[in-house]
């Protein structure tokens, strides 16, 4: 049959179920693709032998009633995988082999899939371009000079390059949606608490949330259904009935009220971003949705708030990397304190150290009220903006990012300009809401751009439905030339 790896996850599942392709054939096809795509640097670790073994086991005793029957999947290297090295993109975890499996990956395997490899990411998920990884930057399949976005850049690159049929990432300030936007793929950050954080290397615990990255909205619904669910091992996991997102996917959005926030613009925003937003509004309007102008007045304060809250939580979470129980330990250091200091200095990269220092400072005695408490108060105002708006609307439509993928090295010397890339994605994390980035078009250089749909708490089904209707009418096709193989 024709190249199966450029099909959607949903199509691949159908092909497996109707026995047009075996799990082994499928896995071999991905192994071949991955081996010829080393230039992209999307993988930190591959698990081909184990994957082929799992595929064989499936083919010998297939269960086609599962959500992900015999499907190989590569995942971001932030999810702990039992007996498989998990690095979080950091030197400090270069030799870490977890003795347990994260809940999210376990859920995926329980639905019939298995691991193909671990995907590169920004170190501890801190970055917007995948350039902070200890394992080198990932390249965007869209162009050999372009970043794939971050922090889930290995995930977006691998997905767009047909190296995995779907994948998962984590999103603390946009780390699923921005790379999805940069690669012409779909990415969903679920409601905080919908997907378990247990076994995910922690960055900022009140913001971190795992979610699917896929080629289509239907695929996104399938993956979300497989990975989500209550987990008693995560104290912030929401205890509710499991949803059947893929079965309940509908493309009728007549009468839905879509909010258009006037604050989602930046100076010097390329006009294509605006034009695309207009196109998105028109498509939804033509499908019978009602557009409503709204205001989220504290939007401009979301990033400054984020750069207090996230580093503060990170400085606390990353205190565990001390060279004692696991991970890298410096060979220098005459006493215990010096061993800590050298280990952390050698083990962490510059961006991670920068954020730990910011976090330590804003939590330190005498500064806590001025920074951390202030940020928590502004976070309340940002959440209230959304709460007030959602009284009169069903969802919000915005651009996903203020530009398409930028060039490698373009923003590495200016942290603030790098941070500004997440200006449209960060508010959602602060408010704990679900949001979807869907491909919508290209800019004048032909690079993909995404639109973002923000939903109410636990309203994933509705934004998936709107995305589904949009996708059918948008006419976007991700045309990526395989220049790397």
């Amino acid at each position: 049959m024709a190249d199966i790896t450029n099909q959607s996850l949903n199509e691949i599942i159908e092909n497996v179920k109707t026995k047009k392709v075996s799990s082994t054939e499928l896995t071999k096809a991905y192994v071949k693709n991955i081996e010829s795509a080393k230039k992209l640097n999307a993988f930190v670790t591959t698990t081909f032998d184990q994957a082929l073994n799992n595929a064989k086991q499936f083919d010998n005793k297939p269960n086609f009633d599962q959500l992900l029957p015999g499907i190989p999947l590569a995942v971001k290297d932030l999810f702990c995988t039992e007996n498989i090295k998990t690095t979080a993109g950091s030197n400090i975890l270069n030799n870490f082999i977890p003795s347990y499996e994260s809940t999210i990956t376990k859920n995926l395997w329980d639905h019939g899939s298995f691991l193909l490899g671990k995907l590169n990411c920004d170190e501890f998920a801190m970055g917007s371009s995948n350039e902070t990884s200890y394992y080198g930057n990932v390249i965007n399949p869209v162009g050999d000079q372009l970043v794939p976005g971050g922090s889930s850049g290995g995930s977006s690159s691998a997905l767009a390059a047909d190296l995995t049929p779907a994948t998962i990432g984590t999103d603390t300030g946009g780390s699923i949606r921005q790379p999805a936007s940069f690669t012409g793929t779909v990415g969903l950050k679920p409601t905080y608490g919908l997907c378990s954080r247990w076994g995910i290397v922690a960055f900022a615990s009140s913001l971190d949330q795992a979610g699917p990255m896929t080629k289509t909205i239907k695929d996104c619904a399938i993956m979300l259904e497989a990975m989500s669910g209550f987990d008693e091992k995560d104290s912030t996991s929401i205890n509710k009935k499991k949803e059947q997102y893929s079965k309940n996917l509908k493309d009728n959005i007549k009468g839905l009220k879509i909010g258009i926030p006037k604050e989602y613009r930046v100076d010097n925003m390329p006009k294509e971003v605006d034009e695309l937003w207009e196109k998105g509004k028109k498509i939804l309007k033509d499908l019978g949705a009602q557009l409503i102008d709204i205001s989220l007045p504290h939007t401009k304060y979301a990033l400054p708030t984020y750069y207090i809250v996230a580093p503060a939580e990170a400085s606390s979470n990353l205190a565990r990397y001390d060279g004692v129980r696991y991970g890298y330990r410096s060979k220098q250091g005459k006493d215990l304190i010096e061993m800590y200091e050298k280990t952390r200095s050698e083990g962490f990269g510059d961006e991670v150290k920068r954020r730990i220092l910011i976090g330590t400072y804003v939590l330190s005695s005498g500064y806590y009220d001025a920074y951390y408490l202030k940020a928590q108060k502004v976070r309340q105002l940002i959440k209230k903006d959304f709460d007030d708006s959602f009284k009169k609307i069903d969802a919000i439509l915005t651009p996903s990012t203020p530009s398409s993928a930028f060039k490698i090295g373009e923003k590495t010397n200016d942290p603030v300009s790098m941070y500004l890339n997440d200006i449209f994605t960060v508010p959602v994390n602060l408010a704990g809401l679900p949001a979807l980035s869907m491909p919508a078009g290209v800019d004048k250089q032909g690079h993909p751009l995404g639109l973002q749909l923000i939903g109410k708490t636990l309203d994933e089904q509705k934004i998936l439905n709107i995305g589904y209707a949009f996708e059918k009418n948008c006419g976007f096709k991700n045309e990526i030339k395989k220049w790397w193989s």
């Binding site: 929401i238 400054p304 207090i308 400085s315 696991y326 890298y328 200095s345 928590q376 502004v378 942290p415």
Partner: protein
Amino acid sequence: MSLDKEKIKYVAKLARISVDEAKVESLTKDLNSIFKFIEQLNELNTDKVEPLTSILNQSLRSRKDEISDGKIREKILKNSPKENEEFFVVPKVVE
């Protein structure tokens, strides 16, 4: 406010990260530009705003304090950077 080199060395000490003298200069510049950006928040009056401490409309669940796994010492020690049969080993602390 601005951060000077001494302050940065002090914070690095608190964070248990040794900072290369050669890098202090550029680190000071980067952190100051970040703090300048962060301090936009001072434009807002938040005197009457309650801080947001949890985005979930539920309090954290509690559970019984019971061992649910246990007897996994070997597994836990497996990733230890310095090998020893039963303990984590660190440089000598007490003379």
